[in-house]
Symmetry: C2
Subunit: 207 residues, 2 copies
């Protein structure tokens, strides 16, 4: 018989199947039995490798998290560019990935559901540290208002992008931007925000 008793790499197959189910039918549709059935294994088999449904979900989330981090890292290429422009690129890559993989983002966003750890944790920290470095650089180059607090600005950047992302997957855009593509609005919001960080040419305020 071609099918061996032991599955080649059940954990990997389980994560893949679970990812597929989540992608197709949402997080709430994920059940251990469904995953087992999809892989063609008994309902209890997954518990040999994942202690609980949440553990399986965490594995799926970990994978998704690394993908998001990788996409964001890929988004920031030109290292010699203006610091705030680099931050804008990071945010843009983030927003784009979320728009392309809404259900995956829905899983990874809740830390209480899925703790941040491993490779994803490191990538996340690296991105945050890079943003902080970019902001302090921007400040020292005079690209930020002179009285700006980089830590507060960092939090605002993160909150804005995260907020836009969650608004998208939580279905808030019909309320807050009735017309047009949500992704366009998200981009516009981000651009506006970054521009307002600069002390720049809004000076002749009176029109």
């Amino acid at each position: 018989m071609s099918k061996t008793y032991h599955h080649g790499d059940l954990p990997k197959a389980l994560i893949a199947a679970a990812s597929a189910i989540v992608e197709e039918a949402g997080v709430e549709a994920l059940s251990v039995r469904a995953v087992a059935k999809r892989v063609g294994v008994s309902p209890g088999a997954p518990f040999r490798h994942f202690a609980s449904r949440d553990a399986l979900l965490a594995a799926v989330a970990g994978q998704a998290m690394e993908r998001l981090a990788t996409a964001v890292e890929a988004g920031q290429l030109k290292t010699d560019a203006d610091p705030l422009e680099q931050i804008r690129m990071i945010g843009t890559a983030y927003l784009r990935w979320v728009a392309e993989h809404p259900t995956q983002f829905a899983i990874i966003s809740q830390r209480n559901l899925v703790p941040l750890e491993g490779t994803a944790r490191k990538q996340n920290d690296a991105i945050r540290d890079r943003m902080m470095a970019l902001l302090t650089m921007a400040r020292s180059h005079g690209h930020l208002r002179h009285d700006a607090d980089p830590a507060a600005v960092l939090l605002s950047c993160r909150a804005l992008v995260y907020g836009l992302s969650r608004m998208l997957i939580d279905g808030h855009f019909p309320e807050w931007s009735p017309e047009g593509d949500p992704l366009d609005w998200m981009q516009r919001s981000l651009d506006h925000f970054i521009r307002d960080l600069r002390p720049g040419p809004g000076q002749e305020a009176g029109e």
Copy 2:
């Protein structure tokens, strides 16, 4: 016997019990049976008043939503104040309520889980319209950069406050602001954001 066969007002009691359970043990701990047991009624009884678990949850959410909207409305008193300051007050009231009622906020944030309707819907629209009016007013008074797009700024305001709120309940603050009270950081982020909307005194950029 003091206990009548018919419950006085079961729907209300069910919502109250459900709210309590959610407040105590989180959304995922909410089950129809648990609510029924808490009220002291048979497991199937709630279905006479709520077609499904989600319908019960929606009722709880609707109540929570009205409370949030009311809190926000209560936060904006001084009508003659500077428009951006008024927006800041709205955001502040929002953040404060979220920090005080995190689990309730967790329910009401997902529109796919709980559609926005009824009184809450009207309140929500009213707040959004008020914010839009404040922003256009701010722009015409020269309190916004002259090339600002009120619609984009509105979205940014909303996204920032919503993002901060979700970061709080999703447990992101340990990553993004290691020290200090999250609510303080949220407030600081909002203040910074509002201030950066002004064309104001950041002009002498070089320090």
